[in-house]
């Protein structure tokens, strides 16, 4: 579609909103070529490719959808707005940036084949490649576009890092139907996604995709080997977090904050990551989400939201839980998250305040940074970030923090630093879960067979009693033995009341019945 054609179309639109999107969808229905392949087969992997264009007068709009898919107008609006950075980075006008978002979809007319790999089919993901380049034909001389893949799968490293970020930028700025047709023609020949290893040819590269048996155990059943230097195959671990802890640690005023983040995620308490660009905040969510594995994060996680996120829309009733992990770049959203009309005023309930991870500036290299300095957006957000002083429960491992500090100062690669952080917290989680596992195993071995329903016979009193007798491998804060025990009990109590515990239990029941069926 040519630029002039589009501008005339756009000028007819008096406003932007769902109606515009609906009309745009109708237009596209007429011009998008019919697909020559099985859309159902394509949808085992993804729903559609979308090109969004930023129209200076009207805001973001859909330029192209392939294959044509009857998205709901609300979904199109969500996709349009979440596919662009919320703020401009004036220093960097021409670099591509990639990020992802997650939304609760309402497109009832799009049928997606069910898959054991998709645990929340009500959510879809948008993987975006945002590009800005000089374009003399438009106002302000810069054209902005986002190439988006919409998929039901949480495969960020495949879609965002390989498909979009490495392959598609080789191509022209404009939406090319030949490109999208080619992409789809290749994907329909891919095998159905399943746990294990799959070779997926795509635009001259071969992706060697590894999907673990269970999302909570991303390494289970996978052989990890160093990638060969040659161009193929490219090893991709589907559920690995994207981004690096190095970048996060460099923004934290103090690396001990990692423990606060960890505890909040484990207890499923609200966290908001504020960054300058959508890539960083979405990567933070991906990393944080991974930190507590094998405990499945029980809240609503959103790698990147804007003011137009579906999380705020009336039909969803807003973020109706206080269990969320959200990435933002616009500080005004903090206020919005606090003022849900349908809810009791949160200001009186400080425990529901989200913990804000400020990733907007690197922490100074030398010396301490005053905690107060971490609130550059206090004014505009109308929200006091300074007041957050959560104390935390788990005792810090100074050996680990020293190692991390040295790794960050030295020349350790981002990959190595991520590995260090992930290993430390995976070990911590394993020790944390050990008393619970012990409790359940004695509950089960009382009967001879493994009965998943036994898990439901959980008694907090019994468990805490057992905990106080045997203790936990996790060290808790406190000067005296008594204080430490109190802290330990309080933390486990909190966990057992959190949705994390319920989700974890559910996962154990599911795994137990799976292994029973396999017998």
């Amino acid at each position: 579609m040519s630029r002039t054609e589009k501008e005339t179309t756009s000028n007819d639109d008096s406003g932007f909103g769902d109606q515009t999107e609906a009309r745009r969808l109708d237009e596209l229905k007429g011009i998008v070529p019919e697909s020559t392949f099985s859309v159902e087969k394509l949808r085992e992997w993804l729903i559609a490719f979308i090109v969004c264009d930023f129209n200076v007068d009207l805001g973001p709009e859909i330029e192209w959808i392939y294959p044509y898919s009857p998205f709901s107008p609300a979904d199109l609006t969500t996709i349009c707005f979440n596919s662009f950075p919320d703020r401009n980075n004036p220093d960097d006008l021409t670099t591509d940036t990639s990020f992802h978002f997650r939304f609760r979809h309402t497109s009832k007319d799009i049928k997606v084949p069910s898959s054991e790999l998709v645990s929340h089919p009500e959510f879809w993901f948008g993987y975006c490649l945002f590009r800005q380049q000089r374009d003399e034909t438009v106002k302000r001389k810069y054209g902005q576009k986002s190439f988006v893949v919409i998929s039901q799968h949480d495969f960020t490293s495949l879609f965002r890092d390989q498909m979009l970020a490495k392959t598609l930028p080789l191509l022209d700025f404009s939406a090319s139907s030949a490109l999208m047709e080619s992409a789809c023609a290749q994907i329909v020949n891919w095998p159905t996604p399943r746990p294990g290893q799959m070779e997926l040819p795509f635009f001259g590269s071969i992706f060697n995709l590894h999907i673990p048996l269970h999302a909570s155990y991303p390494l289970q059943g996978l052989v990890r080997k160093e990638s060969v230097k040659q161009n193929h195959p490219i090893d991709i671990f589907a559920l690995d977090p994207v981004g690096s802890w190095k970048q996060v640690v460099e923004c934290l005023p103090n690396a001990v904050d990692l423990y606060i983040i960890y505890e909040r995620i484990l207890l499923c308490e609200p966290i908001v990551a504020l960054a300058l660009d959508p890539r960083f905040c979405s990567e933070f969510v991906s990393l944080a989400f991974d930190l507590i594995r094998p405990v499945p994060f029980a809240g609503d996680y959103r790698p990147y939201i804007t003011m137009h996120s579906d999380i705020f829309s009336q039909s969803h009733g807003g973020p109706n839980t206080n269990h969320y992990l959200v990435g933002i770049t616009n500080p005004f959203i903090l206020k919005r998250l606090q003022s849900q009309p349908s809810k009791k005023p949160l200001i009186h309930s400080p425990k529901d305040m989200p913990y804000i991870v400020n990733l907007t500036e690197p922490a100074p290299k030398n010396g301490h940074r005053n905690r107060k300095s971490r609130s550059p957006h206090k004014e505009e957000a109308g929200f006091d970030i300074v007041s957050q002083e959560p104390k935390g429960y788990v005792s810090r491992d100074w050996g680990f923090l020293k190692e991390l500090d040295e790794a960050c100062k030295g020349d350790s690669s981002p990959v190595d630093i991520s590995r260090l952080v992930r290993r430390h917290f995976a070990y911590l989680t394993a020790r944390f879960l050990a008393p619970l596992d012990r409790y359940f195993s004695q509950l089960i071995t009382a009967k001879s067979a493994v009965d998943p329903f036994e898990y439901k016979g959980f008694s907090e009193v019994d468990f805490l009693q057992m905990l106080s007798k045997h203790g936990s491998g996790v060290e808790f804060k406190g000067k005296t033995h008594f204080q430490r025990n109190k802290m330990e009990e309080a933390f486990y109590k909190k966990f057992c009341k959190s949705p994390s515990f319920f989700n974890w239990l559910q996962m154990k029941i599911e795994l137990a019945s799976r292994s029973q069926m396999a017998r």
């Binding site: 191509l171 090319s176 030949a178 047709e181 080619s182 040819p201 001259g204 060969v228 161009n231 193929h232």
Partner: protein
């Protein structure tokens, strides 16, 4: 294979380029499945297939990217030939314009693809020419061109749709240092030979070996990439061909 130790095995990326409807996909189908279909649907984007080729000293696993010939897909071609170790540029020897397009692809590959890329120029649809019969059992592509020449025989036969003489294409291929074959995907004539010749022409140093280490380096005299030396080779390879490229 029932041979002693495992032969070293390596993957070779191969891309097919050429005008629409010259028979790229048919060549691949013949090579991979030993099959032929009339009136195939045009390829969208590109198809990906693999096929092993057993040489005396090693196994080559071709990773074949069969690109769409339609003009609207032309801009995507660089994604496919990027890092390719070999290319098969196909024209239809009954269609003059298709050689021009082939030359265009050869020039683009020489300019933009990996420096050591092995390129084979292939004139397909030999079955539509008078040469199609009686020559199937000849020694190989090159000898075909040399022996048959552009002599009278061709012109005598009726219904010869040939528009590009062997000599014309051959001299171009020689000039550019390309392997050269005339094939018929329909009869299978010379198809195996093209791929075997490419496998032999890939310099061993560019191969990523996956098989037994320190294996036989005294290869098969594949030094030359040019048509001439490749040709000498062909007859030797021809003997191993039956248990060769497994199709």
């Amino acid at each position: 294979m029932a041979e002693g130790g495992p032969k070293p095995s390596s993957s070779v990326k191969l891309v097919l380029l050429g005008e629409a409807a010259v028979g790229k996909s048919s060549l691949v189908l013949r090579f991979v499945n030993d099959d032929f279909q009339e009136n195939r649907e045009p390829t969208i984007g590109a198809a990906f297939l693999t096929q092993k080729c057993n040489l005396p000293s090693r196994t080559i696993k071709f990773e074949i990217w069969d690109t769409a010939g339609q003009e609207r897909f032309a801009s995507l071609a660089p994604m496919y030939y990027r890092n390719a170790q070999s290319a098969l540029v196909v024209y239809d020897l009954t269609k003059a314009s298709s050689l021009a397009k082939a030359k265009h692809w050869v020039a683009e590959l020489q300019r933009q693809a990996s420096p050591g890329i092995v390129i084979a120029l292939v004139g397909n649809k030999l079955d539509l020419t008078s040469q199609s019969t009686g020559l199937e059992n000849s020694m190989g592509g090159l000898s075909l061109s040399a022996a048959a020449g552009d002599g009278d025989e061709e012109e005598e036969e009726e219904g010869d749709a040939r528009q590009i003489t062997t000599a014309e294409a051959k001299s171009y291929a020689d000039e550019e240092g390309l392997l050269f074959f005339e094939t018929s995907a329909k009869t299978g004539h010379n198809v195996q030979e093209v791929f075997t010749a490419i496998a032999n022409a890939i310099p061993e140093s560019t191969l990523k070996t996956r098989g037994g280490p320190g294996s036989n380096r005294a290869g098969n005299g594949t030094g030359g990439d040019t048509f001439g030396s490749g040709g000498v080779n062909l007859s030797a390879v021809g003997e191993t061909n039956k248990d060769g490229c497994a199709c």
